[in-house]
């Protein structure tokens, strides 16, 4: 089974929710997600951020849904790390 272990996303978001709440909401999309968020650029109404997510099996749909629920817009998937893991039995 091929699982996504790491994702780096380029996202445009409004100033609110702030980076802390934003990353917490993304992290809550999975049980073991670790999120790093870097603000790359700040404009008048928006900010461009880079989110790095680490997890055992990242659910991209859930992450994208968390981002859009906070008004964010996914611009690009900049980095992906996947692993083919043997299924027991």
């Amino acid at each position: 089974m091929v699982n996504v272990k790491r994702l780096v996303l380029d996202v445009l978001k409004p100033h609110q929710p702030n980076a802390l709440v934003f990353s917490q909401t993304v992290a809550s999309a999975g049980v073991d997600y670790k999120v790093y968020l870097i603000v790359l650029e700040v404009d008048k109404n928006t900010e461009t951020i880079q989110i790095e997510i680490e997890g055992n099996a990242i659910d991209f749909e859930a992450v994208q849904s968390a981002i859009t629920s906070m008004g964010g817009s996914l611009h690009s998937i900049d980095k992906v790390e996947v692993q083919n893991e043997a299924v027991d039995g």
Binding site: L12, P14, Q16, P17, V21, D43, K44, N45, T46, T68, S69, M70, G71, G72, S73
Partner: protein, 194 residues
């Protein structure tokens, strides 16, 4: 509890805490001063039946509540829609399904509720001595005087609340609002007392 945290989240992302607080104080103050004016008006005219006074004041309280609710809803809906439109332009995307879209729908309702309930509840508290007296419960002073005392106390407390928000002396702030109430009472006595 979840509803409260969701409301707090929506207030956070739209930075509207201060608007809700302002509406609460402004319209609460309106309600208290209106009741004070009505009760002083009854006090200085020919004695009226207590149930008549209660009905007149209750009518005014309901009207204040409805006025506060409808005006806040209409103005806040327009403001929220405008803010969402500006944000959508900046994001170049539709935000209706996001928390910002939810805020555009729910916050005007919340603000309208605060703006309507503040004068209504404050008015009901001021009318409490009149109800108690009407129900046959004895009061240490006349019901109209007791209602005026409750009104002055609530106006003072609104000032204390403002003082705490501003981080200035609560006593000074409370006294400021109390002075407004006393001046209002004096003006009513001056113009309606003769």
């Amino acid at each position: 509890m979840r509803l409260l945290s969701q409301a707090k989240f929506l207030l956070d992302i739209t930075c509207t805490h201060d608007i809700v607080r302002r509406y609460f104080v402004v319209n609460g103050f309106d309600g208290a001063l209106t009741m004070l004016g009505l009760i002083i008006g009854f006090l200085i005219t020919a004695p009226a039946n207590l149930s008549v006074i209660i009905n007149v004041c209750l009518g005014a309280a309901i009207a204040l509540g409805m006025s506060g609710m409808s005006s806040a809803y209409i103005s806040e809906s327009a403001e929220r829609r405008r803010a969402l439109g500006k944000l959508e332009q900046a994001m170049i995307s539709n935000l209706q399904e996001s928390a910002h879209g939810d805020a555009t729908y729910w916050l005007p309702l919340l603000i309208a509720l605060v703006n309507g309930l503040a004068p209504f509840i404050i008015s009901l508290l001021i009318l409490l001595p009149l109800w108690l007296s009407n129900a046959g419960i004895p009061l240490p002073v006349s019901p109209l005087h007791a209602a005026i005392m409750v009104a002055l106390l609530l106006i003072f407390l609104l000032g204390v609340y403002l003082g705490r928000i501003a981080g200035i002396s609560w006593l000074r702030s409370g006294m400021q609002t109390l002075i407004v109430a006393v001046v209002t009472a004096a003006l009513i006595y001056l113009f309606a007392g003769h």
